[in-house]
Structure formats: structure tokens, C-alpha cells
């Protein structure tokens, strides 16, 4: 991982958290839309499970520490969302999903992550979270995430293709030697 990729990831994490707190959260109230979770899933789709896993954990943990609920809840759930997105995203990219397809997939995974966060908090008895709330918000969050994804997918795709941020191609594994006789 290069310095430029680390800097880009840090900038993306901070930007996502700031936009979530100052713009997305207030504008989508009372639907608990989480733009950071959506970013994690979109990045996971394009960059793979490793990046999705790491990004989900870091951004989730930072969001947890800035919130009042027990730390680690969002880190765990968003990490799982990034992991799943990276795994399933391979299929999406192989099949040539466009913006709408990726946005829909990422929105479904992000809504699932939000559902999991609320359920985990409900299990922990934290902040009045209940299973009913988790279930009630699932579809509105998914739909809003899908709309938001239509904007975010092209942006993130372009960012990941930018010079210095692009994921390096994996090196070819030597699977055998072929002797050519002249």
C-alpha cells in the first residue's frame, strides 16, 4: 500500500464522516441513512474484500468513537459489509454491472449493515434500539442508499481508477514451466 493510497483512504474516511454528520444525516432524518457504510460497500465492490474489510473497520471504529454507543459495533458490521461487498462484487464486476446495478447491490449491503448495527445495539440494550426499529428502517434506508449510490458509484469508481490510487494488478503466479524444444 502506497502513501498516496493511505492518504486517499484517510481523506475519504474523514470526508465521509463529516458529510454524514453535517449533510446526509440532517437531510435524510428520520431515515437513518449511513453514507460511510455505503462508501464501504461501493469501495468493496470495486477494490475487493481486503480493502472493503479494512476500510469498513477503520471508518466504523472512528464513527463508533465519535458516537455515544459502544465502540466496535459499527466497526464490526461495516467490516462485514465491506467483506461481503468485496466478495460478491467480483461477480458484479465480472458480469459488467453498470452504475445502477452496483448502486443497488451496495445499497442492499449497506442497508443490511445498518440493520445489523441496530440489531446489535438492540441486543446490547443500547440507546433505545429495538428489532422493530431495525426492521422498520430497513426498506427506507435501502431505497435512500440506492438513490445516494447513483451519485456515489461513478465518483468512487473514478477515484479508484485515478493514478496513484488504483489498485495494483496482482502479480502472475508461476503455475509451471513449459519446456520448448527447438
Amino acid at each position: 500500500m502506497t502513501i498516496s493510497r493511505i492518504a486517499a483512504a484517510f481523506a475519504a474516511i474523514i470526508t465521509a464522516l463529516l458529510l454524514q454528520a453535517s449533510l446526509i444525516g440532517p437531510l435524510t432524518f428520520p431515515v437513518p441513512v449511513s453514507m460511510p457504510a455505503l462508501i464501504v460497500t461501493i469501495v468493496g465492490v470495486y477494490a475487493g474484500p481486503g480493502v472493503g474489510l479494512g476500510l469498513g473497520f477503520v471508518i466504523g471504529l472512528l464513527a463508533d468513537l465519535g458516537a455515544a454507543h459502544p465502540a466496535g459495533v459499527q466497526a464490526l458490521c461495516w467490516m462485514g459489509a465491506g467483506l461481503v461487498a468485496g466478495t460478491v462484487g467480483g461477480l458484479a464486476t465480472e458480469r459488467g454491472y453498470g452504475t445502477r446495478g452496483v448502486a443497488g447491490l451496495a445499497a442492499a449491503l449497506a442497508a443490511g449493515a445498518s440493520f445489523a448495527v441496530t440489531m446489535l445495539l438492540a441486543i446490547l440494550g443500547s440507546h433505545g434500539a429495538t428489532a422493530w426499529l431495525a426492521l422498520r428502517d430497513l426498506i427506507p434506508v435501502g431505497l435512500t442508499d440506492a438513490l445516494l449510490g447513483l451519485v456515489l458509484v461513478p465518483l468512487i469508481r473514478a477515484l479508484l481508477r485515478a493514478q496513484g490510487v488504483r489498485v495494483p494488478r496482482p502479480g502472475a503466479d508461476v503455475i509451471g514451466r513449459v519446456h520448448v524444444s527447438h
Binding site: 463529516l18 449533510l23 440532517p26 467490516m79
Partner: protein
């Protein structure tokens, strides 16, 4: 479908364990309080900075759904404000009217007059005169031409035209109005005439009489004027002699001629007892 590499699987397991550890530590106590404080403080500072830039955009977007409601609310508040202003103005008018009614009542009671309260409903030129007002009482209320009009403190004018429900009052300041007045200090008689916005000017019947600035002038004498006698007309503001030797007196009116609202028309005077000549009873 991508497959996880061995390192990724290890990382996933490790991060899951770390997450659960964080949850346990934070849920059990305040083990992460310093980390939480640092993150909250750092993000808080960034939130404040971001809000400076994004806040106006967010507030604009948030306000869009309420535009129609805000307009309706604004219109409602404007109407309410106008109503309140009208109420305040009406209260002030009512208070002033109340004071005038008190004055009229006091004057009527002290002089045993029958006073008909009337509200000025129109001002300006009317009935061919310049200084007139129209009041909201007329023949139905027993108003008759020639009746004296007062504001409770002084002479306002006299009724010159009566209609079923309204009457026209000629104000004393009208240049065509003339009033016989008496100096209450010296008892001398003067003939006062209106001089528009300057009030009235008076001319003593006898140029050699004693009139001074500040003397009170009232209508009178009884039986010699079309007005009810004893109504205050004003005070002498200045006395000056003309080139022809006559004396001209400027009168500052007791009743202001502008801004009239509530006035009283003296529709009846007390019946006077017929007095016997002095000494006649003694002779009987």
C-alpha cells in the same frame, strides 16, 4: 465471486476479534474513554469547520419542503400583526374617546345640560363653508340647527344643517363663524370671528375696554347669543391696536379644531325658573 486469500481471512478474523473486544471493553466500562474523547474532540472541531461551509447549503435544502408552509405562516403572521396593530390603535382611540366622554359628561352634569354624544365621521368643506365636520347624529336624535357643539372643554361650533342621521357642524375657526363672547375677568363683551388655523380673532364692542392677554373668554351673554352661554371659547393670546384705533384680540381656542373625534351637541338646556323681581316678594 472473489475468494478471500489466507491473509484476508486472518485479517477478517483478527479484526472481528478486535471489534468484539472493543465492544466488550466499552460496554463493561469506560476503558475507551480517552480514545473516545480524542475522537469526539477531533471530529467535533472538524464538524464545526465543515458546518461553516456546508451549513448554509444544508439549511437551504432543508428549507425547500417548508417554502409553502413558511409563506402561509408569514402571511398569517402578517395578518395577525396587522390585526394587533389595529387593536392597539383602536384601544388608543377608545381611551381618547373615553376621556372625551368623561369630559362631556362632567360638563353636562355641572351645567345641567342634555348632551348628545356624536362621533365625527367626515371633515372638510361642506354645506358651502370651509371649516365644517359631519357627525353621526341627526334629526332622529333631536339634533336641530343652531345647537351648540362642545368637546367637553370648550366650544367647537354650532349645528348648521341637520339630516335624519347626520348633522353638519360649523366650526368656530371658520372665517364665517361669529360668536359673541364675554371676558370673564372684566365682564366686557367682544365679537369673535373665525380665522382658520389661527383660531379666532375678537373685537371688543367698545375699543376702550380692559382686555388682557390670558383673559378667559366664554360664550355669552345669556339671551344675546345663539350659543349656549358660559361655554369656554378660549384665552386671549395677544392684544394689538390697529391704525384706525380699533383693538384686535387674537384668541387661542380651548377646543382644538383639528383632530376632532368625539363631540357633544347640547340638545337641551335646563328649564329656568321664572324669577320674580328683587324685592317684589318683600312687598307682597
Amino acid at each position: 465471486m472473489r475468494r478471500l486469500t489466507r491473509r484476508q481471512r486472518i485479517a477478517a478474523v483478527a479484526l472481528t476479534v478486535v471489534s468484539l473486544l472493543f465492544i466488550s471493553l466499552d460496554f463493561a466500562g469506560g476503558a475507551l474513554s480517552s480514545a473516545r474523547g480524542g475522537a469526539t474532540g477531533g471530529l467535533g472541531a472538524l464538524y464545526r469547520g465543515t458546518d461553516t461551509v456546508i451549513g448554509p447549503v444544508r439549511r437551504f435544502v432543508q428549507g425547500i419542503p417548508d417554502v409553502a408552509d413558511n409563506r402561509a405562516e408569514l402571511a398569517r403572521l402578517r395578518r395577525e400583526n396587522a390585526d394587533l396593530r389595529r387593536a392597539v390603535a383602536a384601544n388608543a382611540v377608545d381611551a381618547a374617546s373615553s376621556r372625551r366622554l368623561d369630559a362631556l359628561q362632567l360638563q353636562a352634569a355641572s351645567r345641567s345640560w342634555r348632551v348628545m354624544a356624536a362621533r365625527v365621521i367626515a371633515t372638510g368643506p361642506g354645506a358651502g363653508f370651509e371649516w365644517t365636520v359631519t357627525v353621526d347624529v341627526g334629526a332622529r336624535e333631536q339634533v336641530a340647527p343652531g345647537q351648540t357643539v362642545t368637546d367637553g372643554s370648550g366650544l367647537v361650533g354650532r349645528v348648521i344643517a341637520v339630516y335624519p342621521t347626520t348633522s353638519v357642524v360649523l366650526l368656530t375657526a371658520d372665517p364665517t363663524a361669529g360668536v359673541g363672547v364675554r371676558d370673564t375677568r372684566s365682564g366686557q363683551l367682544l365679537l369673535a370671528s373665525g380665522s382658520g388655523s389661527s383660531g379666532m380673532t375678537a373685537r371688543p364692542l367698545d375699543d376702550g375696554v380692559d382686555v388682557k392677554v390670558g383673559d378667559q373668554l366664554v360664550t355669552g351673554p345669556a339671551g344675546r347669543t345663539t350659543f349656549v352661554d358660559g361655554v369656554s371659547v378660549g384665552r386671549i393670546a395677544s392684544v394689538r391696536g390697529a391704525a384706525d384705533g380699533t383693538v384686535r384680540v387674537a384668541v387661542r381656542l380651548t377646543a382644538p379644531q383639528s383632530g376632532l373625534d368625539l363631540v357633544g351637541i347640547i340638545v337641551g338646556q335646563p328649564l329656568r325658573t321664572v324669577r320674580a323681581p328683587i324685592g317684589s316678594q318683600a312687598r307682597q
